[in-house]
Amino acid sequence: MTSPVPTPLHAIHQSLGASFTDFAGWSMPVRYGSETAEHHAVRTTAGLFDLSHMGEIEVTGPEAGRALDRALVGRPSKIGLGRARYSMICAEDGGIIDDLVVYRLEEERYLVVANASNVVVVAPALVERADGYDAVVHDASAQWALIAVQGPVSAQIVAAVTDLDVPTLRYYAIDAGKVAGIDVLLARTGYTGEDGFEVYCAPASAADAWDAITEAGEPHGLIPAGLACRDTLRLEAGMPLYGHELSRETTPFEAGLGRVVSFDKPDGFVGDAALAARREEGLRSTLVGLVATGRRSPRAGYAVVDPATGDEIGIVTSGSPSPTLGRPIAMAYVRPELAVSGTKVQVVVRGSHEDAEIVDLPFYSKK
């Protein structure tokens, strides 16, 4: 094993007293103080995240859109200029290789943001799938740091440090401009279920951008926030995490994300035949939300069982005590006929059967 790579903001995290975790080869701040306080800050004011571990792949050229249409399940050629879409890259058998956000920066320039753990797979796959198109794929991960400002007051904070017009920057839109005089791409995106922004900048400028946002944000209650609360925030928002809800063994349909698959594309796409067949034959399992009755939390890998028979009917993919709801919540794959809100189930929590109920996702929606 090589030692984990520090982000451009590592020294700042150390000075803030962060605890670190090795995540996908990166040394990432897991929390600065209390992850519960960080979670509540994002729900009520704002949190500041270092997401520099994320992978940024640029696809450029006259046929960049067509190449991405072929490579991904969605239709990036139809994304408007300065807009973004959530998408996925699937294998020939329909299994999910990664979930992605695709930004159209210019007519012939896209930014594909991949999970840190998957960029080493996604970048070569895009290169291979773009073969034959007039498009160039470039893994630019090392050229981009990423800072996220998330929470209900994030727009006020970002407006104070950018020359861009924040009120007109729509959700899932991106624009080039400045933050604290630094060249950035500013996107209104996130992974928390709140309004929020993601700031892409050069690694050498990341510390200055972080400090400027911190200074503008502190009067509004902004605090630094680590990966621990990012996970509970996304879980409450019902957002899938690769390696948990999404994997090579699942397709977008099981995950309830069939809407991101576009079969109507001139050149087809990698995995289309397998995904069309899966859509026809119906689901073997489907993703649901669970709320536990007791205080012990379902966790990834725990069995979901029928309370009457004890038969295994599913498996938990993510679970945690929910800071906002005050009860344990989880996502799980269960047999499709059981995926009905209100169904009583049990989760085997370290040997004991704990009552839980299937609920509609998400657990939390911003007002």
């Binding site: 992850e35 519960t36 005590p321």
Partner: protein, 131 residues
């Protein structure tokens, strides 16, 4: 929750410690048991605690309860053989006490020790967690 959690606390010298990051305060043959600040920092915010019932005979080194944080679940190990005499119901009601005051109000249970266990002093425990 306090922000002091991330600041390394020194381990009180009047306590004894186990390699499983528990502390023991012995008064005559009654021992009060808790987890160390190092353990709470590793766990993150504790949201649920399961303690052994009063009267239970517990065996040193074996699981006798659990601590659950947002991110993980950890077994609570009995620091010695003996009988549980009392539990701290305050931490059952408010597990955050374990994070905010692990060596004080966040104590977990009291037991009568039947066999004197091998324990670490503060210096030896400091050395262990420095590794």
């Amino acid at each position: 929750m306090s922000q002091e959690m991330s600041t390394a606390m020194s381990n009180p010298t009047h306590l004894s410690y186990t390699a499983e990051h528990e502390w023991i305060e012995t008064r005559d043959d009654v021992a009060r048991v808790g987890v160390t600040a190092f353990a709470t920092e590793a766990l993150g915010d504790i949201v649920f605690v399961e303690l052994p019932e009063v009267g239970t005979k517990i065996t040193g080194g074996e699981g006798c309860g659990e601590l659950e944080s947002t991110k993980s679940v950890s077994d609570l190990f009995a620091p010695a053989d003996g009988e549980v005499l009392a539990i701290n119901s305050a931490v059952v009601d408010d597990p955050a006490l374990i994070n905010s005051d692990p060596f004080g109000a966040g104590w977990l249970f009291e037991m009568r020790i039947s066999n004197a266990p091998d324990l670490l002093d503060a210096a030896a425990y400091d050395a262990l967690i420095e590794e």
